[in-house]
């Protein structure tokens, strides 16, 4: 029995280690390629040990003012967006968790519905650009992402439902606190884990978002790191399709540069991640529907 359990543990660990390596390998390759010289990439192909070490790609990248501005926008959008998104998600999820809310079923359904269906690209585009006029403003990064994910609202609602004792709310009411005050003074202080989780999740969404930039931002000065990278890749792809049309490729960024931008985009998140990891795991288990 005991040896059986041990075998199981060994199997599980090996499996997880292999899985872990499989996840890491592409990333390591990405970093190595970004540090290889362009000519060695073409003649030797990709390899895990750089044939010719070179930081040319990073020098090229950080020589242009574009990348610093892009970092600035990425940080700004992530900070403002995460804050706003957490506030709005909380304000939506909390009432949904209160059983006495009139029309609760309807509102729940409204949130749930967006998890299954979306408005489609062209209608959303028309709404955001014509009604909300967010094209080529920094709001284009922030507003469409505020509560695009019904899943996050559901996680938070479930947390409020299961982790906040009803008696706590009632005691607040007896003491004459307003609903808003109850949320602020009673509920939020004991909900920090879920807020950290939601913050991390939407922070990642904001940092990694490139699609809003693709559709609503055409002004190069407003690019974030991800949009910068994505446009670079799209250009390369399109140029390849058109190759042979009378255009020259002098300004086309090389493979190494593209990899370097990818590293530049991923690095900040990787630095932050370990500090938030515990909340993240907790949030995931909270997410499972209980009770």
């Amino acid at each position: 029995m005991v040896s059986n359990k041990k075998g199981y543990t060994i199997f599980l660990h090996t499996f997880m280690i292999i899985l872990c390596i499989l996840c890491l390998i592409p990333f390591i390759l990405l970093i190595v390629v970004s540090l290889s010289s362009e000519s060695s990439l073409l003649t030797e192909g990709y390899s895990f040990i750089p044939k010719e070490f070179s930081t040319a790609a990073y020098q090229y990248l950080f020589a242009s003012p574009t990348i610093y501005r892009a970092y600035g926008y990425s940080l700004l959008v992530t900070a403002v967006g995460t804050l706003a998104s957490v506030v709005i998600t909380t304000l939506l999820a909390y009432p949904l968790a209160i059983r006495e809310l009139p029309g609760r079923k309807f509102f729940n359904f409204a949130v749930f519905f967006t998890m299954l269906f979306s408005g489609g690209l062209v209608p959303s585009y028309m709404m955001w650009t014509q009604t909300f006029q967010i094209k080529n403003t920094v709001w284009a990064y922030i507003i469409p992402n505020l509560i695009t994910n019904g899943f996050i609202v559901m996680i938070m609602r479930t947390y409020f439902e299961t982790n906040i004792p009803k008696e706590l709310l009632e005691s607040g009411r007896i003491d004459g606190a307003s609903e808003f005050k109850i949320l602020l003074k009673v509920v939020l202080p004991i909900s920090l884990p879920i807020i950290a989780t939601i913050g991390l999740m939407s922070g990642m969404t904001y940092w990694n978002d490139w699609s809003n930039g693709l559709y609503y931002i055409t002004d190069k000065k407003l690019y974030t790191v991800q949009v910068f990278l994505n446009n670079m890749l799209l250009n390369a792809q399109q140029l390849d399709k058109l190759s042979g049309s009378s255009l020259d490729m002098n300004a086309l960024p090389s493979t190494a540069v593209r990899m370097a931008v990818a590293v530049a985009g991923a690095l900040p998140l990787m630095c932050i991640y370990p500090f938030f990891q515990k909340y993240f795991i907790k949030g995931m288990t909270i997410g499972a529907v209980k009770g």
Partner: protein, 494 residues
């Protein structure tokens, strides 16, 4: 009963759509134009660039000085990054944007939905210059009887050819002028392979982004290779993948593949020939191009390139309509847009400003009259080097750069005029009724082509049979029947 009513309603809706004919001839625009006689209208012109265009505002101001004086129209230059432009195309053409003038590929979907204005009348009134410049090719963008777009000035024909590294050929004593067919390359490639055993791709065919048969062909692809026209059989649309021509091509390529002449990693390789030849990883390339391509890429790659033709030069619809300039049907300033377009086709000064920027700011002129970047500026950090002479209506009017070919426009015009005209020139296939089949068949081709065309390990007959079976199931016969019907009507109308 309900069903019957519904079907009648549908019938009515569909026939009325048919009767409607050319969408958006822009009467609204006319009326407005008449009222505000002297007010200067600003035309929003949307196009794309893959390079640098940060100083577009500066250029726009300079352009406006000229246009306002000459035609009483101002322009808003709306340049977008190329990749982004292609991704946003559907939305740009949805009519929700404030766009008057735009450049797009053929996009039959958007033409069907009435995104563009019919230019037939506008061009008579304001487009005399365009008529002179384009001549008969003005008709290439005519679709269902409406003139939905005007081709820009570029190469209108192409030649199946082999582009090769002339330095290597000279070094190995290879006489490329003896090459008349693809089979003749056999011994030559063997020689190259022997001399450069590390060369990964002696003969470049295609990379992961597409099939060889989409870039190298000796027939009229009619846009997508699903139902093609062989030049020796000008009345019948045939299934390319069942023809002897295709089988011969594939057989030769399989032989080459087995001998190691082709790229073994074609399915994952993303580099193109020009990058590979620069690093001497490739010797020759199989491609349909215009005759100046080798000369054009010589300075870019730093390799002395040359070419041998493998077939006749043909002018086809798909080549002429690579990019079309359109007036949006939602535009309220269609007349102004047409005036501007006319100027862009004929006025060297305006064209030069948009393509190259402002003299002594974005470029300097050498003694020979050719442009160079100012000192200390390179292609990557220039604030205006959009490199869009191949997108603009008439880029040949713009000034020439130091490494470009002398009198490019004249040479290209000569080449265009020398080409044979495909019997299907002017035919644009409306795939509305077979849209599902077209999607399915394109997917099949995309999935099979690299292995069918370039993987020598597979038996040719088995591979072709498999491909054709899959295509049949995806409905290629329906597409060909529909194409044939439309083509017959086209021939009759001619």
């Amino acid at each position: 009963m309900k069903k019957r009513v519904l079907s009648i309603l549908l019938c009515v809706a569909m026939t009325s759509a048919l009767l409607a004919g050319c969408g958006g001839t822009g009467d609204g625009g006319r009326e407005k134009g008449g009222d505000s006689g002297k007010e200067v209208e600003t035309v929003n012109m949307t196009y794309f660039s893959f390079n640098n265009f940060d100083d577009t505002q500066m250029v726009e101001d300079a352009v406006n000085e000229i246009t306002e004086e000459k035609i009483g129209v101002r322009v808003k230059l709306n340049a977008m990054e190329g990749g982004q432009y292609m991704a946003q195309q559907t939305m740009l053409l949805s009519g929700s944007e404030d766009i008057d003038l735009i450049v797009t590929p053929l996009v039959t979907d958007a033409m069907n939905s009435g995104a563009f204005a019919d230019m037939s009348d506008l061009i008579e009134e304001y487009g005399q210059g365009i008529k002179e410049v384009l001549g008969d090719d003005i008709e290439a963008g005519r679709y269902h009887g409406c003139l939905y777009g005007l081709p820009n000035m570029h190469e209108y024909a192409n030649t199946p050819m082999i582009v090769y590294n002339a330095d290597v050929a000279a070094e190995l004593g290879i006489d490329m002028s003896s090459v008349k067919t693809l089979e003749d390359m056999d011994s030559i490639l063997a020689k190259v392979k022997e001399a450069y055993p590390n060369m990964s791709t002696p003969l470049y065919t295609s990379n992961s982004s597409g099939c060889l048969s989409a870039t190298y062909y000796q027939w009229d692809t009619l846009g997508d290779n699903l139902g093609v026209l062989m030049f020796d059989n000008p009345d019948e649309i045939v299934n390319l993948y069942e023809t002897d021509e295709y089988k011969d091509l594939v057989t030769t390529l399989h032989d080459f593949s087995n001998k190691g002449y082709l790229n073994v990693d074609a399915a994952v390789q993303s580099d193109n020939y020009w990058t590979l030849v620069e690093q001497n990883m490739s010797f020759a390339c199989l491609i349909n191009q215009h005759e100046l391509i080798a000369q054009e890429y010589t300075p870019t790659t730093g390799v002395n390139l040359d070419y041998v033709p493998l077939g006749d030069t043909y002018k086809t619809t798909s080549k002429v309509t690579t990019f079309l300039w359109r007036i949006m049907s939602t535009s309220q300033k269609q007349e102004a847009a047409m005036k501007l377009l006319n100027l862009l086709y004929t006025d060297a000064e305006v064209e030069d400003l948009i393509c190259n920027g402002i003299k002594d700011v974005h470029y300097t002129v050498g003694e020979d009259g050719k442009y160079t970047l100012p000192e200390g500026v390179d292609y990557a950090n220039s604030t205006y080097y959009p490199n869009i002479d191949w997108v603009m209506p008439n880029g040949w009017l713009a000034g020439e750069w130091e490494d470009s070919i002398d009198n490019y426009g004249e040479k290209m015009t000569e080449y265009n005029d020398s080409a044979m005209v495909s019997p299907a020139y002017g035919f644009i296939f409306d795939s509305t009724d077979v849209a599902n089949e077209v999607t399915a068949c394109s997917n099949v081709v995309q999935q099979y082509c690299i292995s069918v065309e370039e993987n020598g390990e597979v038996d040719v007959d088995t591979a072709l049979e498999e491909l054709n079976q899959a295509l049949k199931e995806a409905g290629i016969d329906t597409i060909i029947a529909e194409k044939q019907e439309q083509y017959d009507a086209f021939l009759e109308g001619k």
